[in-house]
């Protein structure tokens, strides 16, 4: 398998000492892991990865749920509006990153202008360059980009709920809120868990959005694990350490995947014979 060869190589690499400057590769056992575990930067990056993942997934789920509930109603031009909601997910990340950098620009950005005009701000914010705002800005950007993934899946599930259930609830005197709580939410539970899990796995390993918007800065404020691994490999040229960081990511991915396969067993979708 094309996909497994590089991973195997990365894990093998994490046990050797290899830098771009030395032609010799020497076996070093667990040295890279000992070094990386003692490295405070790793723990910082791990923590920021968790903050980014949690923030982005919660935002995506919230946006996706609200949008899907609203789009599930009948109104004119629904197909057109729905396809607009699909667009962000299919857009190349570079486009999303460039557009949001422009929107959030400190001097010329329209977001700052609108906030100043509505007097929510007194002076323009440096969204992507500010220590306090950079993380929130990348979280908001990925919420916009991937919220539509959640919308798609939740909407598909909503349409599969039999209308009979709602009729029965109404007959027994349930209001709209009650209907949502007792009919919609229980039916959506599996989908919400699925979206949270998949998006969580993908956001935890997200490189391109963050790198393109902030390069992990300012002062490592948005340096998550994949960016840390990239810097180890291509700025410090320590491939052994980078591979060790990658293996840490891989182990966390495996943990997430185990939960996913336990809960959903997607391989049932194909006939595997025995």
């Amino acid at each position: 398998m094309v996909a497994y060869l590089p991973i195997g190589y990365a894990i093998a690499l994490s046990f050797v000492k290899k830098t771009a400057f030395s032609p010799v590769t020497t076996f070093s056992g667990l040295r890279n892991y000992r070094l990386i575990v003692e490295e405070p930067e790793l723990w910082g990056a791990l923590w920021r990865s968790l903050v980014f993942t949690a923030g982005a997934v919660v935002l995506q789920l919230a946006l996706g749920l609200v949008a899907a509930l609203l789009l599930n109603r009948a109104f004119r031009g629904r197909t057109f509006v729905r396809s607009i909601f699909v667009l962000p997910y299919l857009l190349p990340t570079i486009v999303v990153a460039l557009v949001f950098q422009w929107l959030l620009n400190q001097e010329y950005g329209v977001v700052n202008q609108l906030l100043l005009e509505s007097r929510l701000l007194t002076r323009p914010l440096n969204f992507l360059g500010g220590l306090d705002t950079a993380m929130w800005s990348v979280i908001a950007t990925s919420g916009w980009q991937y919220g539509s993934f959640a919308t798609l899946l939740i909407l598909a599930r909503l349409q599969a709920i039999p209308p009979k259930l709602y009729e029965a609830a109404k007959v027994s005197g349930a209001g709209p809120l009650r209907c949502f709580w007792d009919v919609t939410l229980p039916n959506l539970r599996t989908t919400l868990v699925l979206v949270a899990l998949l998006r969580g796995i993908w956001m935890f390993n997200k490189f391109d959005t963050i790198w393109l918007m902030t390069r992990g800065g300012p002062l490592k404020a948005t340096e998550t694990l994949p960016i840390y691994a990239y810097r180890l490999a291509f700025e410090e040229f320590d491939f052994g350490m980078a591979a060790a960081a990658c293996t840490v990511m891989f182990v966390i991915l495996v943990a997430g995947a185990v939960v996913y396969f336990r809960l959903f067993d997607p391989s049932r979708e194909v006939e595997v014979g025995r």
Binding site: A3, P6, I7, L90, P92, T93, P176, A233
Partner: protein, 273 residues
């Protein structure tokens, strides 16, 4: 009164979300057509009519945009062709032949679909350096296949299950070889599957930043995402031109969504479930 609010509140909420979703698109397009002199003199008006093609002219004639575009197109075409061939053969084999370890293979395919690009790009960089495959189209195409092929095999696997074996048996009886039966009986029935494989292969290759960024270090081999990223590294950023490039790069996405609306909505649901 209460009835009115209950009817209008959701529509108002939808309108707010629609603005949040659509505004970045609108602003991208508007900025792309706004002359440079106006763009750098806020405050802006949200609607304007003094538009020009100046930014597109700068983009096409003063940058290497067309070189990046050529590289992106070549990589995408290669990824489509190789993905379709490999996924069709693998999907066919997986449906029609019985062998041990199928369940493990199904599991492995789905699991590798979750692999993040960074996890594969660093080892591929070292591997391709040794093989002298960095800065080549073949290397980039293979890297893109590493992320798209697993799901594509999965898609074809599901599609071939719908093609009845009896159709194929009829072809064998009339003397067709296994490959001929595959080509003339199975492939036409699995056309929708092949189309989704091609779309998915294209989208992943076209959208990819991470692999191209790490593997293609020579300026002349940059793809669009990597090339565009260099536009905002300068000190005086020509934002109008940057937005013009963003518009051009998203054209295939817009085209896909509007031509294949219905198809995409159902297809995406399937592949992601």
């Amino acid at each position: 009164m209460k009835d009115g609010a209950a009817r209008w509140a959701p529509m108002a909420a939808l309108l707010v979300i629609l603005v949040v979703v659509a505004f970045p698109f609108y602003w991208m397009v508007l900025s792309a057509f706004t002359p440079r002199a106006v763009l750098f003199r806020p405050p802006y008006q949200l609607v304007r009519l003094d538009l020009s093609l100046e930014n597109f002219r700068d983009l096409l004639f003063a940058t290497e945009f067309l070189v990046y575009a050529k590289n992106s197109v070549l990589a995408a075409v290669g990824a489509i062709v190789l993905n379709v061939v490999a996924a069709t053969l693998a999907g066919y084999g997986l449906t029609r032949f019985a062998f041990r370890g199928k369940r493990t293979f199904a599991f492995g395919t789905l699991f590798s679909y979750m692999f993040p690009p960074m996890l594969m790009a660093i080892p591929l960089y070292i591997l391709f350096s040794a093989l002298k495959m960095r800065n080549t189209y073949l290397g980039l195409i293979l890297a893109h296949m590493a992320i798209s092929l697993p799901l594509n095999i999965w898609i074809m696997w599901q599609y071939f299950q719908i093609v009845p074996l009896s159709l194929e048996e009829a072809a064998w009886v009339s003397g067709a070889s296994r490959l001929r039966a595959l080509r003339e009986v199975c492939l036409p029935s699995a056309r929708a599957g092949i189309l989704s494989v091609a779309i998915f292969a294209f989208a992943l290759s076209w959208n990819d930043f991470t692999f191209a960024f790490i593997l293609q270090t020579d300026r002349h081999m940059f793809t669009l995402p990597v090339g565009l990223a260099t536009f905002v590294e300068q000190t005086a950023i020509h934002w109008g031109m940057v937005m013009a490039s963003a518009v051009l790069v998203s054209v295939p996405t817009f085209a896909l969504v509007f031509f294949l609306q219905k198809y995409l909505l159902s297809g995406l649901g399937m592949s992601a479930k």
